[in-house]
């Protein structure tokens, strides 16, 4: 029986197959706005899909969003699905979002680490890495948020394949990371990159590997502040914000640093809410409140990107 995205239960967690099938339903319901690109495949040969929201034009300036790079953080793809539906639904209804989409495309990778995500559903709920094999070690997987070519192998990474923050043998060794890198570099017009994680209630911008501020630090601070203020206005969730190294810890090889170092000025990383003190095992009844508040912050970032072309 054909399901549609209205009857889909957004207040629950779903398997990879359910999410991929939901993507197809969304595309079928909004064919003039939403399409799907397959930008690569995972180590275990699962397709890596990206939803493209576009109202036309060629190679428009674009916003990149991704969720779920650390497989066990289920709240992030769950938030991603709700958000993708919101984008599709609000186009033509919400003047601000409509203005964004009339000017820019949005690319949204909802399951950034499909092998890891599947592994959390079938074998080990606590898995956070990819599933690639490391030569010379019986330990499996690389932390895909330490695998980017941005001070690769520096502070905050591990060279031990058994560690959760194992950087991998070389930058972009993970096809899950390389697929995004290739896509963004080929596109050449991505103006914002937002990677969504859980669960420390933070909004951060580069750098993670050095305490030297970026040339755009003041502007990024202002954008982050307005996003966090908007987010907190809905349910009172308190976020901290700032550069990654000053807000959380030194981390090298991260998505956000790579984005900034490759000319994407508006490069952010979210750590979603932890209300209830369950870490990334956030109770399912908090999925929608999390997504709703995150949406307000995302809109602030996207509006700023729309209004400050570079």
């Amino acid at each position: 029986r054909q399901r549609n995205t209205d009857s889909f239960d957004y207040s629950s967690y779903h398997t990879l197959e359910e999410i991929y099938s939901w993507m197809d339903s969304l595309i079928a319901e909004f064919p003039d706005l939403v399409s799907k690109l397959t930008i690569g495949s995972s180590y275990e040969k699962r397709p890596i899909h990206v939803l493209k929201f576009s109202t036309g034009g060629t190679n428009r300036p674009a916003i990149w969003l991704d969720t779920g790079i650390h497989a066990r953080e289920w709240i992030t793809p769950a938030t991603g699905m709700w958000t993708a539906k919101k984008i599709a639904q609000e186009y033509g209804q919400d003047p601000s979002l409509t203005a964004i989409l009339n000017k820019m495309d949005i690319f949204f990778e909802i399951v950034t680490n499909p092998d890891g995500y599947t592994f959390t559903h079938t074998t080990n709920r606590m898995w956070r890495k990819t599933r690639s094999i490391s030569s010379g070690s019986s330990c499996i997987g690389v932390d895909p948020n330490r695998n980017w070519d941005a001070n690769f192998g520096g502070p905050g990474t591990s060279s031990n394949p058994c560690d959760d923050t194992y950087k991998g043998p070389f930058a972009h060794s993970e096809s899950e990371v390389k697929s995004i890198v290739d896509f963004i570099l080929r596109h050449k017009n991505v103006k914002a990159m937002v990677t969504i994680h859980s669960y420390s209630q933070m909004l951060m911008y580069p750098y993670g590997y050095t305490s030297t501020p970026t040339p755009d630090a003041d502007e990024l601070y202002a954008v982050a502040k307005s996003a966090v203020d908007a987010l907190g206005s809905l349910h009172g969730t308190k976020y901290t914000f700032g550069s990654m190294i000053s807000t959380i810890y030194p981390a090298s090889g991260t998505t956000a640093d790579w984005g900034y170092s490759n000319g994407i000025k508006y490069s952010f990383t979210f750590e979603l809410r932890d209300t209830g003190r369950y870490g990334f095992l956030l109770p399912a009844d908090q999925i929608i409140p999390t997504a709703e508040e995150t949406w307000l912050a995302l809109m602030k970032i996207m509006e700023h990107v729309r209004d400050h072309p570079y």
Partner: protein, 93 residues
């Protein structure tokens, strides 16, 4: 399928840089198989760590003997995972 029966998640509040250093030392004890959800970085950030059932006793002793404050964030991880799975099955039906 890996089970987490009796595993606890502790939320640890370090009060000084010395205590952070002790937690980093704890992090290096590989035989305890600790899974740090939030790493020890600075006193203002709490540390969350999943402690396998078999390591609960030594970890608690370590924390208590150094006067490091903690509370139990998740009492039995597997119970939470079971209820999560039940919720998903219910939703799928």
């Amino acid at each position: 399928q890996k089970l987490f029966i009796g595993d606890q998640v502790l939320r640890i509040t370090a009060e000084s840089h010395e205590q952070i250093a002790l937690l980093q030392e704890l992090q290096g004890l590989e035989h305890l198989e600790l899974d740090f959800w939030r790493e020890p970085v600075r006193p203002s950030l709490s540390v969350d760590v999943r402690v396998p059932f078999a390591s609960l006793q030594p970890v608690r002793v370590f924390l208590q003997s150094h006067g490091i404050q903690y509370d139990v964030m998740i009492d039995n991880l597997q119970v939470l995972l079971d209820s999560e799975m039940e919720e998903m099955n219910h939703s799928r039906q």
